[in-house]
Subunit: 288 residues, 6 copies
């Protein structure tokens, strides 16, 4: 998920432009032209920082000097200074909220992801944790990148990525087996094929049809254990990746992660993250 | 916040286009051309629905027939059908996640807003509840509209709205009074002027300088009560609107709402909302 | 109305790109690659200059060096040099007309605005002069900013600004009073509420319903004086801002400005401004 | 200058979107959802109407029914109804100002153009009247089309159109002759070559070098007569088109048009047009 | 690669808008308003048609009625009618070249792809034929979709698709093995990992490191045979997909396709396709 | 066709952004942050280079240092280094394919154009060679510019350029003569008028009606010779430019070029060019 800063800049300026509208009327009314300021972006909470690259890219694009004191993905403490900014006061004030909104959301997502992974690490589990496409509308790039920085798996980046056959596809096609066979026949060799199943029996069908990944959708941990047992019995365990999905949260993740699946996917990381509290303080400035 | 559907369509297609990328490879591989489907958008949780207009606009723009069974802002129950959709199966599948992401986030925000207002209504309080500009990056329109549908106050829609003089502006200008005076002198008569204060004494200064709204930033409920008492004593209470802001959450909102302020603003409504669980089920379809 | 230059640049490049089309064929045919030129942007008429920030932003974005010798809002004389430009001759020639069109229109608007204000200033009147949303299509930003630089009030910057209930709204709602009450109930506390009235009686109705500004639409100066008298009699004068609007021009503005209203709005400032004559002369250059 | 309506729609929606911003707050607060209205677009002044196609295209794109009662380029009288509109009241109100701004500006330009041509027609002159690229910034399409509807010549539509060698090009290249020769050598055969001259002698030089059109820039009518005489003497008259340009206005156009030039170009048609007064009246409506 | 028509429409209108510029001046000058026409899109050469969906989508978006007589991917004969179009003559003429350019290029690519596959089919080979990212700049969507319609494999749709480690990546990382290991460690489980190798020895290294696909870059057919033999000997044949790439053309493809690789990729399909000759004939029309 | 680099940059970033999608996953997984690289863009074939300005503009816009060793339009040899690039390795890798696709296509077109012109030059012919609007969809700018760099005539740059009356226009209008007369009456004096004829008799009709250029469409060389003879007999030869068009290729161009026409237009230059083989080699780099 590397985007050259100039490409990233386009998305960032679009976001800022929406907030500016026809212009910042407060800055225009109260801040004289030509004043320089210094700002410090400061964490108010502990967590994993994300969005530093985005903040730097936007600030520098606006002609401000930005110096990051932390790296994306790094753990931060309350009161820690994340970036120092210098330059035109009007521009800094007009960009303040956009910068903070990006940092707060991305850091919130990265922190939640890391917290889940820490639980697994403590139990010495190697199960991966993935997000879903349940992001804030239009924020796929930012939300997925934050998951990656938190140590999670981004899963599909959009619909042209990997084949993922879900319940509604199967409802239309008729069966897991038929859908997977069509996918194997029609899709590019460059794509993996994943299929969502709702019954234990469908797993073997999917394996035989050539799926690369099988998503066990809304399976209870007990049902997953049964599935794993069945696959082992048949000698199919390890032939496909197994993903547990549906209703998995911070509270129950360990029950799923210990079943023998390769991957658990957690929707709430991106659809309901808590923003990390981060603010901008203009600490020193040439007075007007 | 009324946007003609054709204008709204542009934002919605932009969001969908990001998710489509170079094309939905799953649909392309497994769903034949020319299949029609029926879908039901179903709530999995109780709450206040929002985003119905957005969903309908996008679905109809894509050539699907969409029939809303609920109105934006209405309370909904688990298993309630929100929209019925008919039309091309490939298009419906490709738009599924975008539609659900919009509905889930907007309904989550509307539900949270309504919950806060219900608390106040039960206590017969007329205090208004507002959101802030702490939205998901670039989602100001959707987040603010959801707050409105939940019954909240949208506060500023972007930076060309109302004058709002905050801590960093004051740090640069030197004093609350000076900043408000500059605003009254330079700003359009069409704008209200709000100023954020951190000390009780600044309130009177702000009132005298002509502020329309005073934001009591990070004042404890006790400090707000003192401020109100002081204003009443001076005969200034009622001359300006008072807004309590900073650290207000669902847990402590009643302490603030009962102090005599006109408005409490709550950042978490838009920066950390929980998405409402909503899904699409394709219930009936001409089989392939 | 402060827009960070990088945000402004997007609008400016859009305008230039339209003029360039597939490329400047004259420059391509007659000006060799790699020639540097110097240019002077020169006023041909006296007036108030506006658009200097826009010109500088565009020129520098294009890689030309631009040095402004005047400030936006400053009075200029015929033959006065406004900017000096240095850099690639082909680029300068391709941008010439776009730069001049922006400066000429914005300066024309600023000059007209200032002229009106000078009339009022000479009569020691403090009445404000505002423009309307009757701008050239799509040029709201540039036209409004030019009014501001001329000393005028920008009034609404777009439709998400202040509530302004006009004749057609009232025709649909039924009465001034009902419309204002709905506005006060439904609108954000951050918005002022203005209402357009056509009868003297409606003014008191509007005041009682809680309007912040009352627009006296197409009232003759005599009718405005009657209205002011009535409001004074009732003790309502000063409780709302009064705006005179409709048919006000440079010729009759003093008759309106002396009636006791706070604001007169003049459509022709932005819908029919005369461009200020400004040209680019390339005075010195390395010959081909 | 025919643009398929769907292409035109993109420009029009861009203009409307700027005015809408985050949404029309007045309509949202005071006009209920689901109200239909009827509107009449009415001329307040006589003139030549232009922008009807643009208004219809935008209105229909927004889902409103628009019926034009006049054709673009037609003469209209005060109180004449130009279009009748039916449909959603909220949408009609939100689009009102954008529609009127387009019609007013375009009709103002068409009217001015027609007035100039009428003067010439009365004198039985066949001299053409052209506009320049001195339009409102970014409005090249609308301004040029209005000139065309008024009966004028659009001249260049942007910089990839015809070669036009102006003073600054010649200053860099060294001489009229050299510049025209380079143009003839390097430019596509599909392009005409026009050159601006400031001296009588340069005209013959331009003709010899192969120019298709010679622009007599800031020549007095007397100087043009001398030039025509000279060209006739040399047998060059009629070999190139002659264009008079610079300082030509409604007041002096006849002096230029009678000199024997093929074309007079008038900057003020597009840089300083007076808008035609046009308004929208909602005459009948289902009351709320 | 299914894109909902409304999303596709955006790309298509962008392409048309570039060609229209400020308007079609020929249509404007010679074709009266309000004339209807019928058109037939006719093949001048045999081949495989592609771009029919794109043509229909654009034509219908423009308000023309389009009836396709062939399906994308179908074989067509000279003189065969591909689409019939009815509607506004001016619009049809303005869109003619854009429609034909899309059909000609896409059909040219589909035809070339099919021809290659026919060769393989005649030899009863199941080797797949893929294109590369060597498309016309910015035409990834159209070029890849045409390959798919011709029966080829689209390979990566852009850089966020599958991991593909190429020569320059390896040059920077140091070795095939190291690069593949990093990819397996850092990449999402949803991605396949392909690596380009230039030496026989690197193949086993890649297999061991966990690559899903190995690209044998610029291997001669003989060298590929050696590689296959070696893999078989080691028991690694079939564990990874093998792709032959580099210098493969219509002339030598059989030598590569018979070596035992799973996939041959051919750059010239998309970087140098011959357009299929297709034209629009307006066969019947209401005369002016 | 000179476009200021900043305007060109917009098109180039659009193309790159499509290829990047949500981010380069390969670079992200295997190339560490902060590594610098050096790259050489190297020709693998002889030809005429084009696209160097585009490559430099894009590379520098991305923050890479680009040094061109050749000029656009220059002849190059196999193994010749075209550009040297220095800077961030991740950015260089992500932009590699886009840069090469632009250079390969543009150089392929320029080379084909130059080859045709060389044939004519060797025969001492001054006939011009033009391309048509049959470009890759949406690549009008790049394709036409490459033709110009190869020495060809760009012909129309889009539909607002020159009047060109083609077969379908005439089918609708009724006759060549009528169409040309309408064009002369309605079109701007700044436009040339070209008309396509299919019969010898139409040529004189076109000349009389005032056409500037007559396109002899699908005339055999023999038929062109007859036409030229007829025009000479009538004294019309030289009064209009003659263009031969339709089915002209590298194989038969000399037969057309020697007939006495001014211009031959060749569709395949832009609709079916062979890309020139150009690659990027990262030759030296700080190892990871």
């Amino acid at each position: 998920m590397f985007s050259p800063p100039k490409i990233l800049e386009r998305k960032l300026l679009e976001i800022l432009a929406e907030d500016i509208g026809q212009g910042d009327v407060t800055v225009s009314a109260v801040i004289p032209v030509g004043i320089d300021a210094r700002g410090s972006v400061i964490a108010k909470q502990a967590g994993v920082v994300a969005g530093v690259e985005e903040a730097e890219t936007l600030l520098e694009s606006l002609g401000l000097e930005a110096k990051a004191l932390v790296k994306d993905g790094q753990e931060i403490k309350p009161k820690q200074i994340l970036l120092k900014i210098t330059g035109d006061a009007r521009t800094m004030l007009a960009a303040e909220r956009t910068i903070l909104n990006i940092l707060s959301r991305m850091s919130g997502i990265a922190t939640t992801t890391r917290d889940l992974l820490e639980k697994l690490r403590k139990a010495k589990l190697k199960t991966k944790v993935a997000c879903t496409r349940k992001t804030a509308p239009g924020l796929m790039y930012f939300d997925k990148k934050a998951v990656l920085l938190g140590g999670g798996d981004t899963h599909r980046l959009h619909l042209d990525d990997m084949i993922l056959i879900k319940d509604n596809h199967i409802a239309l096609v008729g069966s897991v087996q038929k859908a997977v066979k069509m996918a194997k026949k029609n899709a590019s060799l460059s794509k993996k094929v994943e299929v969502e199943v709702t019954k234990v029996e469908d797993v073997s069908e999917a394996v035989e049809a050539g799926a690369d990944i099988v998503m066990l959708d809304n399976f209870s941990p007990r049902k997953i254990l049964e599935t794993v047992a069945l696959l082992k019995k048949r000698g199919d365990y390890g032939k496909v990746l197994l993903e547990a999905s549906g209703g998995i949260t911070a509270r129950n993740i360990m029950e799923y992660a210990t079943t023998g699946v390769d991957l658990v996917s957690v929707g709430e990381i991106t659809h309901s993250p808590r923003a990390l509290d981060i603010s901008l303080e203009m600490t020193s400035v040439k007075k007007v």
